[in-house]
């Protein structure tokens, strides 16, 4: 039974439970709903809730745990020598899953019968041939252990699915019966349902915490795995980045410093563009511009913030890069060799961040009380003197917070640097040279066909960990500053 139908049946049980609970509640008071503690629909909702919520909870947990359990017991079946040189348990397991899927599809399409597919004594070559006949993509050489593993994998999955269906349906029915049983006219159905809803609301809020937990765990586990294969000291202090995909990445040099340098350099250029322009724009829009100009210019600037980063990436690669090259390249000043460079990515990222800086600063400048401005005007200060000497100093903490948030944006930005900064990791001061960043390398290390067990792929998690820690630090500091700042004027 597919997952879809299981969900539908549970929902059906819940709806039947709703009707039954409502009817029973009304029947218990002879149809006069004034004698009930709660509205009849609450009695129905109570039954439906008790039928559906535990059942779905079991379903979700089961779906999460089952692959894990099966994976553990199957990988125990694969002997060490079945993992060939240059391969890994992960790859073999992937093959097992593919083969099992092939068997499943062949059975489903009727080209193989159930007995044959699960026959442990069947000849491997025979099954392989039959699978190919059935049009299932199968790796050329399925070894004996893989085939056996695939067969038991298939059996375990279908058994697991069957048990899951049974348990979930039983839970739904038991829940519904429990709910119906407690339905009497004195039962405080509304309070029970509301308590239930509160728990549901709470678990929704919990997802944010779980997401953070998921991020931290997935980064930590894989980073630890990486440091087992590659010394942490070399990673954090290495001056060279040159991954080698041959020989399981054994000869790679994976120093993060050139990547961090590229990241910070590009972010610096971006902030050098975005902060002055954004700040001046915010000051102009909040202190000088007439309401009509403001009503047009502010949303126009904010369009820049709504444009997806891939667009900026393309803009950097195909418009800004060639434009800079025509000025600074061999035809011009001769200090730029290719369109992709720190300057290209930094400039475009700066454009992207202008509205980010300006709307954050705008909010912060507007939070400075008018009394402060009046005080200054009352002494005969001009607008610019007021802005420079009263408003901006008063808003300074908030603006610093906004700049830190923008910096964290710049450091975490991916598409612009993937397309606009180049791929070479180098430690150089020339902003017209191609450099690369942490984010760009995460993409390139994880989008290839590299196997997850090799250091060249795992390094992406260590890079991600570094990125996460740096941006999180910036964010926490920035949000703290901004919050303190707002409290000051609230």
């Amino acid at each position: 039974m597919s997952l879809f139908w299981l969900v539908v049946i549970v929902l059906a049980i819940a709806s039947v439970g709703y009707v039954a609970g409502r009817a029973r509640a009304l029947a218990s008071v002879g149809g006069d709903m004034r004698d009930l503690h709660s509205l009849p629909s609450y009695y129905g909702a109570n039954v439906a809730m008790k039928a559906a919520v535990p059942a779905f909870l079991i379903l979700v947990v089961w779906l999460l745990v089952q692959p894990f359990v099966i994976h553990a017991s199957i990988s125990g079946m694969i002997p060490e020598d079945a993992v060939q040189e240059g391969s890994s348990l992960g790859l073999v397991m992937a093959e097992v899953r593919r083969t099992a899927e092939g068997l499943e599809n062949a059975v489903a399409s009727g080209q193989m019968n159930e007995d044959f597919a699960s026959n442990a004594r069947a000849d491997v070559n025979d099954i392989t041939a039959r699978l190919k006949e059935a049009g299932q993509i199968v790796t050329s050489r399925i070894t004996q252990p893989v085939m056996r593993a695939a067969q038991s994998y298939r059996v375990m999955v279908s058994a697991g699915d069957l048990y899951m269906t049974i348990v979930v349906l039983l839970a739904a029915i038991a829940g519904a019966l429990w709910g119906i049983r407690e339905t009497t006219h004195e039962f405080r159905a509304r309070n029970t349902v509301e308590r239930g809803i509160r728990v549901i609301l709470f678990s929704a809020a919990l997802i944010a915490v779980l997401t953070t937990l998921g991020i931290v765990l997935s980064l930590v586990f894989n980073t630890v795995e990486f440091f087992r294969l590659y010394p942490a000291m070399d990673f954090f202090f290495g001056l060279t980045w040159s991954p080698s995909f041959s020989g399981r990445g054994g000869s790679s040099e994976l120093g993060i410093l050139p990547l961090l340098w590229g990241t910070f350099y590009i972010s610096f250029v971006a902030l050098a563009v975005a902060v002055p322009v954004g700040l001046f724009a915010a000051v102009y829009l909040s202190e000088y511009a007439g309401s009509k100009f403001r009503a047009v210019a502010k949303p126009m600037l904010e369009i820049l913030a709504g444009i997806p980063t891939i667009v900026y990436g393309l803009f950097a690669l195909l418009t800004v890069g060639p434009m800079l090259l025509s000025v600074f390249g061999d035809d011009g000043l001769g200090i730029m060799k290719a369109g992709t460079a720190v300057m290209t990515a930094g400039l475009v990222m700066g454009i992207m961040l202008i509205p980010f800086v300006s709307s954050l600063s705008d909010d912060i400048i507007n939070a400075v009380p008018q009394a402060m401005r009046d005080g200054s005007y009352g002494l005969g200060a001009t607008k610019s003197e007021t802005v420079k000497q009263v408003v901006l100093p008063a808003a300074l903490p908030g603006i610093v917070g906004a700049i830190l948030l923008a910096a964290s944006r710049a450091i975490g930005e991916t598409m612009i640097v993937v397309l606009g900064a180049g791929a070479a990791a180098r430690l150089s001061l020339n902003p017209f040279e191609a450099m690369t960043t942490v984010t760009a390398k995460i993409v390139s290390q994880l989008t290839g066909d590299a196997d997850f067990a090799s250091p060249v792929a795992l390094v992406a998690f260590a890079l991600g960990m570094t990125l996460f820690v740096v941006t999180l630090g910036l964010n926490i500091v920035a949000l703290y500053i901004v919050r303190k700042y707002r409290e000051q004027y609230d």
Partner: protein, 265 residues
């Protein structure tokens, strides 16, 4: 303390410091101030009283063109200071406000040190040629505001750290530091406790010797205590103006009488 030296009384009779002629103020379509004519005497305290929303604060703000900072506000009629029309195109509001200082309802010290708060005005107007002169201006302004004893040891501390009354006196010192000729005060004591209020009132009385002071107040007792002349505003109209004693003891207009006897307000 309401006695004025004879010399000043004589000059007050002949020349007024500020004179408003037929002043109208509009906020967008609202006609906020109608036909106000008033002569404000130099070296004296003039109080504007009236129920809230009567236009007294609005009129006060027209005297140093603070209303310019509000887009929809429009002023008609003439206001002259020492015979010069302050709404004349040749007048720079910045220079005007250096001559006509202002103290606000809520103490609004800048988030800077006490010293920098007072030094701000002299700095922007270029009143001091060097650090020593600036120090002198700060010290004498704080002295005049009666804050020197409390502040002299903590000039580097933020002005926002002082008590409400001290903050308001700091704002007065800040206004004095620019050496204005007129000081406008918009309900300067409404955010203060009675003791702080008493101190500020005492200060106002002392300042009268050197400055022309116009004060807006909610409290009739305060007007009686500190002012020599009083103007009563009601619904955007200047109802009655005259020596404070006359206004409180012998009002000519029925509305003034109702107000000071507490029928409305």
């Amino acid at each position: 303390m309401n006695e004025m030296p004879n010399l000043e009384q004589a000059s007050a009779m002949t020349t007024s410091k500020i004179s408003a002629n037929n002043v109208q103020v509009y906020y967008g379509d609202t006609h906020a101030i109608r036909d106000v004519n008033i002569e404000i005497q130099p070296q004296s305290v003039t109080a504007f009283i009236g129920p809230s929303g009567c236009g007294k604060s609005t009129f006060l703000r027209t005297l140093n063109r603070m209303n310019d900072t509000i887009d929809i506000c429009r002023v008609e009629g003439t206001i002259t200071i020492d015979g010069e029309d302050i709404y004349n195109a040749k007048v720079d509001p910045v220079q005007l406000r250096a001559k006509v200082g202002m103290v606000f309802q809520k103490p609004n010290p800048f988030p800077k040190s006490i010293y920098d708060n007072v030094a701000y005005g002299p700095r922007i107007h270029g009143l001091a040629r060097n650090k020593a002169e600036l120090d002198d201006i700060v010290a004498s302004s704080l002295q005049k505001a009666g804050l020197w004893e409390e502040a002299k040891d903590r000039l580097d501390e933020p002005g926002t750290g002082m008590s409400g009354g001290q903050q308001q006196r700091l704002c007065i010192a800040r206004a004095i530091a620019v050496s204005p000729e007129v000081i406008l005060m918009d309900e300067p004591c409404s955010a203060l406790d009675p003791i702080a209020t008493a101190k500020v009132e005492e200060l106002i009385d002392e300042l009268r010797e050197n400055y022309t002071i116009v004060i807006v107040t909610h409290s009739m007792q305060q007007a009686a205590r500190v002012s020599q002349r009083t103007a009563f505003f009601h619904m955007g109209v200047l109802v009655e103006e005259g020596p404070t004693e006359d206004i409180f003891t012998n009002p000519k207009d029925k509305r003034t009488q109702d107000y000071i006897t507490g029928r409305f307000g």
